[in-house]
């Protein structure tokens, strides 16, 4: 049992540790905000910049690869079926997911020239940091977009995007779950459908 001095030392240590939390959180918040701002600026610069559509897609793919934790999102979107998939299926699925995600992001590149990105406030949620932004695209009402950033202090990566409160990964997970439930819960069928979709949306 700790004596009084040890107890006081422990208490002081806890108080000091607790006192450090706001600083750590603030640091995570600043890093996450700077990370999202820089990623958003890069995306906007490519979309609004010169270059052919093919070049823009190549540049956007690089940005997505560097800033988004695609593997974690992919695994989340497959839900309980991730465990049921064979290692080969998991590999094919992640590859296709990556392709589909990049295609979806870049699909409308040509039409969004003139896009504006304004960074807002951020807030902590569990271990993640959520950074708010306002995205303005020509011909579209301004959209509130929240970026969920994991490991905000050390290795920030985007793990979800919330457009007007709707989560990209939750929506994607519902889509896949529904497809699987109507196709005998067969992961191979999902992979085939994703492959077909990726081919269709290539251009």
């Amino acid at each position: 049992m700790p004596n009084r001095r040890q107890f006081l030392t422990m208490t002081a240590g806890l108080v000091l540790a607790a006192g450090r939390w706001p600083a750590v959180l603030a640091q995570g918040s600043e890093t996450a905000t700077a990370f999202v701002a820089s990623t958003g600026d890069k995306l906007v610069a490519v979309v609004n910049g010169p270059g052919t559509l093919a070049e823009k897609r190549r540049q956007l793919t690089q940005i997505v690869d560097g800033a988004v934790d695609v593997d974690t999102i992919a695994q989340f979107c497959l839900g309980r079926f991730w465990r049921q998939a064979t290692p080969a299926q998991q590999k094919s699925y992640v590859e296709l997911f990556h392709r589909v995600l990049v295609t979806n992001i870049t699909a409308k590149v040509g039409e969004y020239k003139g896009v504006k990105f304004t960074i807002g406030r951020s807030r902590a949620q569990d271990d993640d940091e959520i950074v708010s932004s306002l995205v303005e695209r020509p011909n579209n009402p301004p959209t509130n977009v929240d970026w969920v950033v994991s490991n905000p202090t050390h290795n920030p990566k985007i793990i979800d995007v919330l457009a007007e409160g709707t989560s990209l990964r939750l929506t994607q997970r519902s889509d896949y779950a529904s497809y699987l439930s109507h196709n005998n819960y067969d992961v191979a069928a999902l992979i085939a459908a994703m492959r077909q979709q990726a081919e269709q949306n290539k251009e």
């Binding site: 509130n144 929506t171 889509d175 994703m194």
Partner: protein, 274 residues
Amino acid sequence: MRFVPRLPTMLSRTLRCCGTVGLLAGLLAGCATPPPADNPDAVAEFKQTNDPLEPTNRVFYAVNNGLDTVILRPAALVYRAVVPTPVRTGVHHVLNNLGTPVQLANDLLEAKPHRAGNTTMRFLINSTVGLLGVLDVAKGWGYPDHDADFGMTLAGWGVPEGPFLFLPVLGPTDPRDTAGFAVDIALDPFTWVGGDNEWRRVFDWTRYGLSALDGRERVLDSLDQVKKTALDPYATFRSLYRQHRQGQIDEMRNADQPSAPGQGSQPAGADQNK
């Protein structure tokens, strides 16, 4: 906020007709078959999805989607091409302003005095300085818009959403929001004033037609994107609808609480799309 049109006689007739078709479709399509009990994960998922009428809902989704493809989407594309953006924005503001009384009633029923004050100020400012609602002057003066309808009010009172529904004309909904839609029509002063004459019918149909065009035009790109990228667009719309409504309800619950979490998360310019 969601625009709630007065239900003109013809629309009511259409709904009755669709209801009959729906009944037939329901009899033909029936209810969703639960997965076998020896697959507990699938059973849990089935319960969580809470869409026992899925086969019927999918029939209505197909019908609505067909009507949208041949009528509403092309009309919205023409509307976007022909009407300049500032005029479309003005139309959106006028429609929003006409919906203010219903919004105010719901703010009060939700016991949100700060929001009710905002709504009142918005109506007074935008109806006068804002030239009958064409300009949203109030937002710049510190009175931002927000969502309020009776479906949200019921949620605030603790009424559960119930199973997912996809209804003709109305689209994705649930029993709570369907009841809310009907009550909002009753709460709308335009339902009760003006009598039944030619001008009244012109006003109703102009308001209804413009709100359909405005609403559809604003989601042209988003809906195209969902249809293009989803493997199961119906399930995707179901998820999006529920998440969006939950987001509106959470925002309403956190409103009028200065230190409420999430309130400070709105970026500058939030609510601009309302």
